[in-house]
Symmetry: C2
Subunit: 201 residues, 2 copies
Amino acid sequence: MSKQRELKHKKAMQKQKASVDASIAKASEERGVAVLLTGDGKGKSSSAFGMVMRALGYNQRVGVVQFIKGVILSGEEMYLRKHCPEVEFHQMGTGFTWDTQDRSSDIEAAERTWTIAKKMLSNPELDLVILDELTYMLSFDYLNQDEVLEAISQRPFEQSVVVTGRGGGKALQEIMDTVSEVKEIKHAYKAGIKARHGVDY
Amino acid sequence: MSKQRELKHKKAMQKQKASVDASIAKASEERGVAVLLTGDGKGKSSSAFGMVMRALGYNQRVGVVQFIKGVILSGEEMYLRKHCPEVEFHQMGTGFTWDTQDRSSDIEAAERTWTIAKKMLSNPELDLVILDELTYMLSFDYLNQDEVLEAISQRPFEQSVVVTGRGGGKALQEIMDTVSEVKEIKHAYKAGIKARHGVDY
């Protein structure tokens, strides 16, 4: 590698570091953040559970509510129930929409589950609350949007919250601090590869 | 809610379920999958660590290599080192590009780290291998792209691999089974909110 390239690289890196440093210095408000992971691609729920691991690394207190899940027991559920009894874990369970195909009982299940989520969102002892696949409850009009957005906005100052799921609407995006859209470029199952335990569930 | 809406909902859900069922039935190949999480948004590394949690839920064996990390100890590192000594965890450490600003020593660090990653990618006892922020090693031309792509492609049949990081190039995307682009819609730090432990690191 030439001396010139080495120098050019060093200058580019210094510039990049200066820009990153400036952004970090400017960001000065310390509080819990609200993160939305939306879009049609793979990685939304798994990202939420990665943040659970991060929070547990700092011995933070974590609450998890899963609004829609299939019948198969997921890896994250098995792990948390077995190894992390300190995590408040709740699953909507019987309310799985695509299986029950019954709007009334789905709404009842959603509302029961929301009661638990709302309690977490008002508990200042919880550092992180995961509302996995909550967006569908809003898209299907199972929960009152105003009530959900208010509970998220009014949560304790230090508490972070992560919401996952496709869609969710503009109003939800507006109240969140960080919004990532996970876009599917390609997905294994479309090439005939089965969903994989330990990766997909 | 009207009876008509109830019926309409039920029909829509049945149609959706039939379509999902058909896709699942068609996907019949069982093997490890290669997942790429790319794009400029928040959620790539956390998604990889969520999959680590999933895999551990099934008592799978996991290897993790982090190619670029800052000086702050991350939540996922603290968690894995403390609670999951069975996970093979390796960090490039000294090679953090934006801090060292030295191309030669970065390349050395990258190559040392790659040696460890390559060993994991040839170990059939590992069910899941995470190559966190590997893409930068390719973008910066620190590692030989052909060698990296070959090692990923030639890994054991049952092993899944997750690669994270912005960019990475077309050739990498082509050999991966699932590719998600995590797009930043907005990010808290741009609104002046500090990176949050337990969420951002």
